[in-house]
C-alpha cells in the first residue's frame, strides 16, 4: 500500500513493436481518429469506425491500434479488445491486399458456393481466414452477403463479384495474384485494396460511389417485367397538386 512506485497496469501488455512491412500508426491517424469522434454525440460511438481506420493503415487491428483507440476514448485496452474481437470484419492478422470471401450460407452453398470455396482452398493452398505468404490474398468463407439473387456470390474487399462458378473464381484469384484485378460486378471501375476500402468504412468517402451501374440484372427484372406488362403503381391522387415550393 505504501509503495506507489509500481502502479498496477490494466489491459493488454504494451506492444510497440510493429511487424515487418506493417506501416506504423501516425499523428495523422490520431488526427483522423479525432475527426471520427467529432461526428458522434458521445465519443464511444466512434469505436467501430476507428477500428476500421486502424485497419486502413495496418490491414488489421493491431495491439498498437487497440492502444490508440483506448487512449483516445479513455477506455481500457481490454474494453477495446473486447469489442474488436466480437466483430468478424476486424482482423487479428493482416488481411491480404485482396481479401477474398466466398458466401457459403445455405443458398449460395447449395447453388455452388461450397464447390467454389473448396476449389479456392485447393487452388490457393489457403484455409479459412488465412493470408498468403506474399500478402497478396486472404481467404474467408462468408455468411449471407445480401446478394442472394446473384448467387453464388463472392466478395473481394467487400465489393460484389456476382454469379460465380469454380472456374470464374479460379480466374478471379489468378488475376488478383497477378496484380491485375478485374472490376467488381456492381462497384467502381477499379478494385481498391483492403486498406483503401477500410477508409471508406471509417467514414472517409473515396468519391468512387458515382462509378458503376445503378444495379445488376436481377435487381431490375421485376421492374422490367412490370413495364412489359404495363403494370404501374396507382398514380398519386392529385399530381397537379404538387406542393408550392417554399422560398
Amino acid at each position: 500500500m505504501a509503495d506507489t512506485s509500481s502502479p498496477v497496469v490494466l489491459g493488454l501488455p504494451e506492444t510497440t513493436v510493429v511487424p515487418d512491412g506493417i506501416p506504423a500508426l501516425t499523428e495523422q491517424t490520431r488526427t483522423e481518429v479525432r475527426e471520427i469522434i467529432a461526428r458522434y454525440p458521445r465519443s464511444r460511438s466512434a469505436l467501430l469506425p476507428m477500428l476500421h481506420l486502424v485497419q486502413s493503415v495496418q490491414g488489421y487491428v493491431s495491439p498498437a491500434g487497440i492502444a490508440l483507440c483506448a487512449e483516445e476514448l479513455e477506455l481500457t485496452k481490454a474494453e477495446v479488445a473486447a469489442v474488436a474481437t466480437f466483430y468478424t470484419m476486424y482482423r487479428r492478422k493482416p488481411a491480404g491486399t485482396y481479401h477474398v470471401g466466398v458466401c457459403t450460407n445455405t443458398l449460395c452453398a447449395v447453388l455452388g458456393g461450397d464447390a467454389i470455396f473448396a476449389t479456392l482452398k485447393e487452388h490457393t493452398g489457403l484455409t479459412h481466414n488465412e493470408t498468403s505468404a506474399d500478402g497478396t490474398i486472404s481467404l474467408e468463407h462468408l455468411e449471407c452477403n445480401a446478394a442472394c439473387d446473384y448467387a453464388p456470390v463472392m466478395m473481394v474487399n467487400w465489393e460484389f463479384y456476382d454469379n460465380q462458378t469454380p472456374q470464374s473464381a479460379r480466374a478471379l484469384v489468378d488475376a488478383l495474384q497477378a496484380g491485375n484485378p478485374p472490376a467488381p460486378t456492381r462497384g467502381p471501375s477499379t478494385l481498391s485494396t483492403f486498406t483503401q476500402i477500410s477508409r471508406v468504412l471509417a467514414g472517409f468517402n473515396d468519391g468512387l460511389g458515382q462509378q458503376g451501374p445503378t444495379a445488376g440484372t436481377p435487381t431490375l427484372v421485376g421492374l422490367a417485367l412490370a413495364k412489359e406488362r404495363g403494370d404501374v403503381a396507382p398514380a398519386y391522387p392529385t399530381p397537379a397538386d404538387a406542393p408550392e415550393t417554399e422560398s
Binding site: 454525440p41 473486447a82 445455405t106 461450397d114 464447390a115 442472394c148 448467387a151 473515396d206 460511389g209
Partner: protein, 436 residues
C-alpha cells in the same frame, strides 16, 4: 396490376442514385410538403397509411413513431434519435442492399421526414460493413443532401435542423436486432438488451429512439406525396401498401419484384418462368431463414403478415429462397444452424449452448451416423431454446429445424437408413452439367 413499382420505379435510369436523378423524379418534393405539416400530423398520416415495418417484425411504423415521448418533461426532454437499420444480414434477404445502391436518396429523404416527425435532430444510418459500394452511395447521397440544403441547420428556412451520420457495421448478424444495433452504435459488442424498457423511451444513449428498417423509411416519402389512402389502396386488409419481394434460389429469374402485399409465390413463379427446367419446388422460406420453411403445398398462401402467419410461418423480410428437389433439406438446415451458432452473441445460455449442440446433432443426422433418438433430442433442444433468450435470434435458429422435421421427417429417416446423404451436391449447383 400485379406489380406496383414505387421504390424501384426508376432503378433502370443510369443516374437513379444521384440527387439529379432523384429530383427529376419528384425526389425531395415530399420533404417540402412534410416540413409544412405539423409533426403530429405526419405521424398520424403514417399511422393511417397502415405501413408496417419491412424489416421482418411488421410492427406498425406510425405507432412506433407515436410512442416517442414528446414535451418538456421526463424522457421527452432528452434528445430524440432516429436510427435506420440497414444491417441487412438475414439469410436470403437482399432487398435493402440493391435499394440503397440504386436509390439512396429515397432513404435520405425518408430519414429527414421521419426525424422531423419524431423531433430528432440526429439520425444514424447503420449499414452493414460488408457492402462497401452501398456505403459509398449512401455517404454520397447524404453529402449531396447537405449540399442541396436538405440537411444541416435550418433546413429550407423551416427552423428544423438535422444531422445524419452514416455508420458502417463490422460484421455481426446480431446487430440487425434493434437493441444489439443500439449497443453496437454506442461502441459496444452488439448484444441485445432486455426489454422493457423499449428503445422508444430508452434507446440510443438511453434516450427516446426510433429504429426503422430501410424499406420502411424509404416508403415514407411516397406516403407523404400520395397520402395515406393512396398507400392503403394497395395490399390486403391488414397488410397495406407495396413491398419488395426478393426471389432467389433454383428459379429461372431471381431478383427483386415490387408488388402489393398479398401476392402469392405461385403468382410470382408463374409470371417469372418458375423453377429451373425439369425441376420442382421442394421447400422455400417466405422471409429469410428465421421464418419456418414452407413447401409446394403453400404456393397459394397470400404473402402478407396474416396469410403467412396462418400458414405457420412469418412474412419476415419477404426473402423467397426457393430450393428444388435436388436439394438435401438436412444440408440446408445444418448450414443455417451453423450460421446461427456462429452468429449467436453468447449472451443467453440457451442460444449460445443450444445452437452449438444442434450443429453436432445435425452433422450426425446429415452424414448418416445419427439415430432416431437424435431427432427427438434435436426437437427437445429446440423446445428448450425457443422463447428462452433475450432476442429473436434463438427463435429464428429453431425455425428451420422444427419446420424441416415437420415436413421432411422421412428424409431425416432416409439419411439414417441409407447411412449417408442420398443427394448429389453437384446436381443442386447452378453449374451442374457444365464441365469443370
Amino acid at each position: 396490376m400485379v406489380f406496383t413499382p414505387v421504390l424501384s420505379a426508376h432503378w433502370d435510369e443510369s443516374d437513379s442514385f444521384t440527387i439529379e436523378g432523384y429530383t427529376r423524379n419528384r425526389g425531395y418534393e415530399a420533404l417540402t410538403k412534410a416540413l409544412a405539416m405539423a409533426p403530429d400530423d405526419l405521424i398520424a398520416m403514417v399511422k393511417d397509411s397502415g405501413l408496417r415495418g419491412r424489416g421482418g417484425a411488421g410492427f406498425p411504423t406510425g405507432m412506433k413513431w407515436g410512442f416517442i415521448p414528446q414535451g418538456p418533461e421526463g424522457q421527452g426532454a432528452k434528445p430524440h434519435y432516429l436510427v435506420v437499420n440497414a444491417d441487412e444480414s438475414e439469410p436470403g434477404t437482399c432487398k435493402d442492399t440493391p435499394f440503397m445502391m440504386a436509390n439512396p436518396h429515397a432513404l435520405v429523404e425518408g430519414v429527414i421526414i421521419a426525424s422531423y416527425a419524431i423531433r430528432a435532430s440526429h439520425a444514424f444510418i447503420y449499414v452493414r460493413g460488408e457492402i462497401v459500394h452501398v456505403i459509398r452511395r449512401v455517404q454520397e447521397a447524404v453529402a449531396q443532401a447537405y449540399a442541396a440544403g436538405h440537411l444541416g441547420t435550418d433546413i429550407h428556412g423551416s427552423g428544423y435542423s438535422l444531422d445524419v451520420v452514416v455508420h458502417a457495421g463490422a460484421g455481426a448478424y446480431i446487430c440487425g436486432e434493434e437493441t444489439a444495433l443500439l449497443d453496437s452504435l454506442e461502441g459496444y459488442r452488439g448484444q441485445p438488451r432486455l426489454r422493457p424498457p423499449f428503445p422508444a423511451t430508452h434507446g440510443l444513449y438511453a434516450c427516446p429512439t426510433v429504429v426503422n428498417n430501410v424499406e420502411s423509411i424509404a416508403s415514407v416519402p411516397s406516403i407523404v406525396l400520395g397520402g395515406a389512402q393512396w398507400f392503403s389502396s394497395m395490399g390486403t386488409e391488414k397488410s397495406k401498401g407495396y413491398t419488395l419481394y426478393s426471389l432467389s434460389g433454383h428459379v429461372n429469374k431471381p431478383g427483386q419484384y415490387e408488388a402489393p402485399l398479398g401476392i402469392t409465390l405461385r403468382q410470382l413463379l408463374d409470371l417469372t418462368g418458375g423453377m429451373r427446367a425439369g425441376r420442382t419446388l421442394k421447400f422455400w422460406t417466405p422471409g429469410g431463414s428465421s421464418t419456418p420453411l414452407l413447401t409446394a403445398d403453400h404456393l397459394d398462401v397470400p404473402l402478407d403478415y396474416e396469410g403467412v402467419m396462418a400458414a405457420g410461418s412469418m412474412l419476415g423480410t419477404k426473402a423467397l429462397q426457393c430450393f428444388d428437389d435436388t436439394t438435401c433439406v438436412l444440408r440446408a438446415i445444418l448450414r443455417w444452424t451453423e450460421f446461427y451458432a456462429h452468429e449467436s452473441c453468447g449472451k443467453c445460455t440457451p442460444c449460445r449452448e443450444g445452437t452449438y449442440w444442434m450443429v453436432q446433432i445435425l452433422e450426425r443426422l446429415e452424414n448418416g451416423t445419427g439415430t432416431e433418438a437424435d431427432i427427438v433430442t434435436l426437437l427437445d433442444t429446440c423446445d428448450n431454446i425457443f422463447g428462452r433468450a433475450f432476442c429473436a435470434l434463438a427463435d429464428g435458429a429453431v425455425s428451420p429445424i422444427v419446420s424441416g422435421v415437420k415436413y421432411f421427417r422421412e428424409e431425416f429417416t432416409q439419411h439414417l437408413t441409407s447411412g449417408g446423404c442420398p443427394f448429389d451436391p453437384v446436381a443442386s449447383t447452378v453449374f451442374s452439367g457444365v464441365p469443370a
